[in-house]
């Protein structure tokens, strides 16, 4: 028996609960139906030529860096490298859009963004070479450690931005995450905190199609990742992640918005991972070449080069010059990475605590004895050979 049928009961008329009204109008938060583009459109005419040229030079360097680092894995100089080839426009724009006092929170794939922000290219690779975990001082460049556990850096970005605002500092945090990382609880908690606190944060999702082997369709059923913003009460922006000018523009808007105290933005950059997940992965197991080829025609360097040459801002000499500058960078990187890092095993015990515990001192002493014995052995052998 339903309520309406109860004898004597008044007819049931559904009405909303008395106090309900939407907290936020969802319409302005919704992303555009198509990823925002600048290059090759009328909007390009309004773009600053100086910025476009700078982006171009950095893109070419970035590509060269990816190629060089991948080569270093083959030579055994790097343990592993997650290449961002194809995604350079996102990496570079993320680095260039920030002011000096701002902070970058990269994921493990974002070595390039860290380097473009000014981190020493070798320092940026120590994690992946395997000599130390990160190692650099995050405060020096305002770059958080490259983060391997997925999405865990996002709440950090929110907390830092919030703290800066509490202190009255003009600081924006830009946090990067992959499409797969958006499924983690930390992603959702970070977005929610950021929106509730109106923290000056920009979330940049590089949607490169895959989380290792898992395609986006198995990751989310949302219309787009940018749409996820709406549920948290922040704007979602969709951008062509291979269009450096567009990524820069959208990120610049989001950073400006954060600076004005208007809160966080979620940016989804639609791009593609041209290489395998890392050099250790076999991408042929889960994707077809034709898909990769389609994206090759939409290469971020190609798009920008066409725009610049089409408008007479770049000629053959300029292209060659950019390549040469990139080669110089790569040669330097190669040379420095070819030297064996000198590591002190005793460093295992430093920086575990501000002050070493008695237990660690004991363990360090034990290792010291082992190392001395090893050295003696080594010297004896050398003696014998002589």
């Amino acid at each position: 028996m339903t309520v309406q049928e109860l004898p004597g009961a008044a007819a049931y008329r559904p009405t909303p609960p008395p106090a309900w009204k939407p907290l936020t109008d969802p319409a302005p938060l919704l992303p555009d139906p198509e990823p925002h583009r600048v290059l090759g459109t009328d909007a390009a005419a309004g773009a600053d030529p100086g910025l476009l040229l700078r982006l171009y030079a950095e893109l070419v360097r970035g590509r060269r860096y990816n190629v060089q680092a991948t080569a270093l894995t083959k030579q055994g100089r790097l343990a592993v490298y997650p290449s961002s080839t194809g995604q350079e426009a996102c990496e570079i724009a993320a680095a260039l859009v920030l002011e000096e006092q701002d902070w970058l929170f990269p994921s493990y794939r974002d070595t390039l963004a860290a380097v473009a922000r000014g981190l020493d290219p070798v320092e940026a690779l120590t994690l992946l070479r395997g000599d130390r975990h990160t190692g650099y001082d995050p405060r020096e460049h305002r770059i958080a450690p490259l983060c391997t556990p997925l999405a865990t850096q996002l709440p950090h970005a929110v907390g830092l931005a919030h703290a800066a605002r509490l202190k009255g500092d003009d600081v924006v945090a830009l946090a990067m995450v992959g499409d797969g990382g958006t499924s983690e609880g930390d992603f959702h908690e970070a977005l929610n905190f950021a929106a509730v606190w109106k923290a000056p944060v920009v979330f940049l999702v590089q949607n490169n199609g895959f989380a290792i082997s898992v395609p986006l369709a198995k990751q989310t059923a949302a219309p787009s990742l940018a749409h996820k913003a709406v549920g948290y009460g922040m704007p979602g922006r969709l951008v062509d992640g291979n269009d450096a000018a567009a990524v820069h523009e959208v990120l610049a808007d989001a950073v400006a918005r954060a600076r004005r105290g208007e809160g966080p933005t979620l940016v989804e950059a639609v791009t593609y991972r041209m290489d395998a997940h890392t050099n250790a992965d076999d991408a042929t197991r889960y994707r077809v070449d034709s898909e990769v080829e389609a994206w090759r025609a939409h290469d971020p360097i190609l798009l920008l080069e066409r725009e610049l040459t089409g408008r007479g801002l770049l000629d053959e000499d300029g292209i060659v010059a950019a390549k040469e500058a990139a080669d110089v960078m790569a040669a330097g990187l190669r040379e420095r990475m070819n030297a064996d890092p000198v590591l002190d095993p005793m460093s295992l015990f430093t920086h575990v605590y501000a002050e070493q515990t008695e237990q660690l001192r004991e363990q360090a002493a034990r290792l010291r004895v082992e190392l001395d014995a090893e050295q003696d052995q080594h010297d004896d052998n050398a003696e014998e050979r002589r």
Binding site: G130, P149, G185, P341
Partner: protein
């Protein structure tokens, strides 16, 4: 202990060299073939066959619904497994790496471990959580943790770790068949270790919870498990030259703990060293040493010693060899067992 003894071993055939990874994959396959309620889920377990290829071919053979690529969310994966198990399925969850299982700890500790107890036995959760663990493979940060102590400290979970190809098969089958949740720790540096093994030969599928003596000896017992077993066996061989005849006990299961086998061995030898690569302080060795002492006090000629990883965050690959307890460190501890001479 569990229903594991009921799992039949497989058919007959000629043993061939197989890796631990292959044996694990075969155990999953056989469990799925035999019991339609067994489901595999995790990140990249489908098309890719897992980053270590343990689940290779399962999606093809059993379909996406039985071997499922999930969204990338460990809490979600294990939480969903709880619900699946509540509804009668037997989920086998893959955590991609030791350190990436941490987001799932809330589900594990608050629900997986406690559901049987909270429901007064009405709702057991037959979930197997496969976790590749440990170092020695040159993995970068967050790819080499030994997390067994966290799991051991949580009542309600079985904690199992094979060290041989046979055990990889047998213990995984037993774990999946268990009506209790099992944390199945896979020593990733032994994934490619080989042994003569045939999926078609009779494979011993034992109930979980039994330790085994891998080498018998008279002068001291090395108590170990998982990745440290080969180290201990090598140390035992090397110790012969020093006049030591070492017994090596492979625990195989940390929870339940086989006090009987361990104590019987130590009573015979009178001396014991616990060897594992996870950090020593608050680590499994402390618990094991205490149990041995409680049971064997009057038989002991020396304190139970521990050889463990240092109490530091797992180091970067270029320094990991200094952290991992190797043969020399084990031998050094064995030498320290000459307690009378020392004191």
């Amino acid at each position: 202990m569990t229903t594991a003894a009921a799992v039949p071993g497989a058919q007959t055939g000629k043993p061939k060299p197989a890796t631990m990874a292959q044996a694990l994959g075969r155990a999953l396959r056989d469990s799925m073939a035999e019991d339609p309620s067994v489901h595999v889920l995790g990140e990249d377990v489908g098309t890719l066959g897992g980053v270590f290829r343990i689940t290779d071919g399962l999606a093809k053979e059993f379909g996406d619904d039985r071997c499922t690529d999930t969204p990338l969310a460990e809490a979600g994966i294990l939480g969903a497994a709880v619900g699946m198990a509540m509804y009668g399925l037997r989920p086998v969850v893959e955590m991609q790496f030791d350190a990436f299982a941490y987001p799932a700890f809330e589900q594990l500790i608050s629900h997986v471990a406690k559901m049987r107890n909270r429901t007064r036995g009405a709702m057991p959760l037959p979930i197997t959580v496969r976790v590749p663990y440990g170092g020695g493979i040159g993995g970068v940060e967050h790819h080499s943790d030994s997390s067994e102590a966290y799991y051991m400290a949580t009542p309600g979970l079985h904690v199992v770790t094979p060290a041989t190809v046979d055990d990889a098969y047998g213990l995984l089958r037993a774990s999946i068949a268990s009506d209790d949740p099992v944390i199945f720790l896979e020593p990733k540096r032994l994934y490619w270790s080989k042994a003569a093994w045939s999926p078609d030969a009779p494979v011993p599928v034992e109930p979980i919870g039994r330790a085994v003596v891998r080498r018998s000896g008279r002068s001291a017992t090395l108590i170990t498990y998982g990745p440290s077993l080969p180290v201990c066996l090598e140390a035992a061989e090397a110790a012969v030259a020093e006049g030591w005849d070492l017994e090596v006990v492979d625990l195989r299961s940390l929870v339940p703990f086989d006090d009987e086998t361990v104590a019987a061995s130590v009573r015979r030898t009178g001396r014991a060293v616990v060897v594992h690569e996870s950090s020593g302080f608050g680590g499994p060795g402390g618990e094991i040493a205490a149990r041995v002492t409680e049971r064997c006090f009057h038989h002991l000629e020396a304190p139970v010693l521990r050889v463990a990883g240092f109490d530091i965050p797992y180091p970067a690959p270029m320094l990991e060899r200094h952290h991992l307890p190797g043969v020399d460190r084990v031998l050094d501890a064995v030498a320290r067992l000459q307690w009378e001479a020392q004191s």
